[in-house]
C-alpha cells in the first residue's frame, strides 16, 4: 500500500517535470515542433469530447483482439499440455509467429483482408495469441507433481482434473500474460489503425499528422499513456482479487 502511494507521488513528480520541460521548450522552439502545455490541454479537451467515439472504437478492437487471443491461445495451451504431440508441433510454430515483426503482420493483413476491422483483429490476435498459448502451456507443465498425485488419488475424471487443478493453477499465468500483452496489443492496434481505418485513435493520429496538428498528437499521446495506466491498474486489481491465495501476494 505504502509502495503504491510512493509510486504515485513519484509518477506525479515525473509528469510535472515533463510538462515543465515541454512548457520551457515551447518558449524556445517553434510552436509547430513543441506546442505549449495550455494548447495541448485544449487539444486534449477537444479530443476527449469530440473523439470519444474513436477512443471507444480502439478500446473495443483491443478488447476483441485480446479476448480472442486469450480464448484461442489458452485453448491451444491446454491442448499442448494435454497432448505432447500438439506441444511438439505448436511450439516451433508459435516461435516462428513470434519472430515475425509486427510490421510484417500488418502488411500481410493489408494484402489479405479488405475490411479494416478484420485487419486490426487479425494483427492483434496473431501477435497476442502465442504469448497466451506458451504461458498457459508453461502453467500446465508447472503444476506441482505433488498436487497432481493428491488430486488424482481421489480419482477425478479428466474434465474434473482440468477444472479442479489445471485451470485454477493457470490463472496466474493468464493474468501475467494479459499484463504484458495489453501494453503491446494497444500499440499494435493503433499501429494497424493508422492504415485504412476511418475511426479509431490510430485514424485520428493519422489525421492529426497530415494536418500538422502537433498539439493533437501530443494530446493523443497523453490520452494513450493514461489508457495504458488505467488498463494496467485494472489488471493489477484483478490480479489481487483472484490471487489473494498466494502468500507472496498478501505481503504486498
Amino acid at each position: 500500500m505504502l509502495g503504491t502511494l510512493r509510486g504515485w507521488r513519484e509518477t506525479l513528480l515525473v509528469v510535472a517535470a515533463l510538462l515543465a520541460t515541454l512548457q520551457l521548450g515551447s518558449l524556445v522552439v517553434p510552436k509547430y515542433i513543441l506546442p505549449d502545455v495550455p494548447a495541448i490541454a485544449q487539444a486534449a479537451r477537444e479530443v476527449l469530447v469530440s473523439d470519444a467515439r474513436d477512443i471507444a472504437a480502439t478500446l473495443l478492437r483491443l478488447t476483441e483482439g485480446v479476448a480472442a487471443a486469450f480464448a484461442l491461445g489458452s485453448l491451444l495451451g491446454v491442448a499442448m499440455g494435454a497432448v505432447p504431440a500438439v506441444a511438439r508441433y505448436a511450439r516451433p510454430l508459435l516461435n516462428i509467429m513470434m519472430a515475425v515483426p509486427a510490421l510484417n503482420w500488418i502488411l500481410f493483413a493489408i494484402l489479405w483482408f479488405g475490411s479494416a476491422e478484420v485487419r486490426v483483429f487479425f494483427v492483434v490476435v496473431v501477435i497476442s495469441l502465442p504469448f497466451y498459448a506458451l504461458n498457459v502451456y508453461e502453467g500446465i507443465r508447472g503444476v506441482p507433481a505433488d498436487l497432481v498425485e493428491a488430486v488424482e488419488a481421489f480419482r477425478p475424471t479428466r474434465t474434473q482434473a482440468i477444472r479442479i487443478l489445471l485451470l485454477p493453477h493457470t490463472v496466474p499465468y493468464i493474468i501475467m500474460t494479459t499484463r504484458s500483452v495489453l501494453g503491446y496489443a494497444i500499440r499494435i492496434t493503433i499501429f494497424a489503425e493508422l492504415i485504412g481505418t476511418a475511426i479509431g485513435i490510430g485514424a485520428r493520429l493519422n489525421a492529426a499528422q497530415s494536418q500538422f496538428r502537433i498539439d493533437a498528437v501530443f494530446a493523443w499521446t497523453a490520452v494513450l499513456v493514461v489508457i495504458n495506466f488505467v488498463l494496467q491498474a485494472a489488471v493489477e486489481r484483478l490480479d489481487r482479487r483472484l490471487l489473494r491465495w498466494r502468500p507472496e501476494q498478501a505481503l504486498r
Binding site: A150, A153, I164, P168, W245
Partner: protein, 269 residues
C-alpha cells in the same frame, strides 16, 4: 502370511452361512524398480477390513513406492495388487470415493479455503454442493477447525493444514485410508495431537487404514499390526499390537524394542 485370527469386523454381512469377508488389500509378490534400482522386492501382505496396519521401514525402503502402487498411482513391474476387490490402477473409476489419501505434506489446493479443500473428494464423487459443504464442515468441526473453514491454506499452521487434509480424507467416508508419513512432517507435540485425533475418529468408524512410517513409536501407538519392511521393501517381520498393549506404556516400549530389533536385523542381514 495370511493372518489367522482377526478382530470382528464392523461391516458384518447378514449371510445365512457366514462367509469370511474378503481382504481389503492384498499384495502378492509385488516388485517395482526405479530405473535399475529395485525399490519393492516381492512384497506380500493382506489387510482385513477394519484393520489398522502400519508398514515400518528405514528411509528409502520403498514404503512410498509400495503405497503409491496400492493407491494406483503407479503400477508394479510384476505381482498382483487387489484393493477392495479391484486393480487400483486399471479400475481407476471403480474405486472412486472408496480410497482416500493423506500425505506427509498437506497437499491442499492453495487457492481453496479449508472447507473447499475438505470437500474435494465429495466434489469429485458428484455430491451436490450443499451436502458436500455440510459434510466437509462437519469433519472440519470434528478435527477442531470450526473457525478455520473459510481460511486459505497459507493462513493456517502446519498442524491445522494436516487436519484439513485429514478432513478431506474422512469426508469421503472411504473404505480405505492410505497414509504416507502423515504425521512425520509435524513437530512432536503437534504430531501427537493430530495422531490422537486421527485415531479417535478412525477407530470407531472401522475404516481400514494402511499407514507407512519410518517412526517405530508411531507405528506402535497407532497400529493393530506392524509390518516391518526391509530395504528394498518386503515384509521381514510382522508384529501384532493388542489394544491393551497400546494402552500400557511399558508394554508399548517392549513392542517398540521388538520392532526396532527386526528393523536392525533386516538392515544387517
Amino acid at each position: 502370511m495370511t493372518p489367522v485370527e482377526h478382530a470382528p469386523t464392523p461391516r458384518r454381512r447378514q449371510d445365512r452361512e457366514p462367509r469370511p469377508e474378503p481382504d481389503a488389500v492384498v499384495l502378492h509378490d509385488v516388485w517395482r524398480a526405479w530405473g535399475g534400482a529395485v525399490a519393492v522386492a516381492g512384497l506380500t501382505f493382506a489387510l482385513r477390513p477394519g484393520e489398522i496396519a502400519a508398514c515400518v521401514g528405514v528411509t528409502g525402503a520403498g514404503k512410498s513406492t509400495a503405497l503409491r502402487m496400492v493407491m494406483g498411482a503407479i503400477v508394479p513391474d510384476r505381482g498382483e495388487i487387489r484393493v477392495l476387490g479391484h486393480d487400483p490402477a486399471r479400475d481407476f473409476g471403480l474405486l472412486r470415493g472408496k480410497i482416500a489419501p493423506v500425505f506427509q505434506t498437506d497437499r491442499l489446493l492453495p487457492w481453496r479455503t479449508a472447507l473447499e479443500n475438505a470437500a474435494l473428494g465429495l466434489e469429485i464423487l458428484g455430491v451436490p454442493a450443499e451436502e458436500r459443504r455440510r459434510r466437509a464442515q462437519a469433519w472440519l468441526e470434528r478435527l477442531g477447525l470450526t473457525a478455520a473453514a473459510s481460511k486459505l491454506p497459507h493462513e493456517l499452521s502446519g498442524g491445522m493444514r494436516q487436519r484439513v487434509s485429514l478432513a478431506r480424507a474422512f469426508a469421503l467416508d472411504p473404505q480405505l485410508l492410505l497414509l504416507d508419513e502423515a504425521f512425520s512432517h509435524l513437530d512432536e507435540v503437534t504430531a501427537a495431537g493430530v495422531r490422537a485425533d486421527f485415531l479417535s475418529l478412525a477407530r470407531p468408524l472401522g475404516t481400514t487404514c494402511l499407514l507407512v512410517t519410518h517412526s517405530v513409536a508411531e507405528a506402535v501407538e497407532v497400529a493393530d499390526r506392524i509390518l516391518v519392511f526391509g530395504r528394498p521393501a518386503r515384509v521381514v517381520a510382522e508384529v501384532r499390537v493388542a489394544a491393551p498393549v497400546r494402552a500400557d506404556p511399558v508394554a508399548q516400549d517392549r513392542v517398540r524394542r521388538e520392532v526396532l530389533a527386526h528393523l536392525q536385523g533386516a538392515m544387517a542381514g
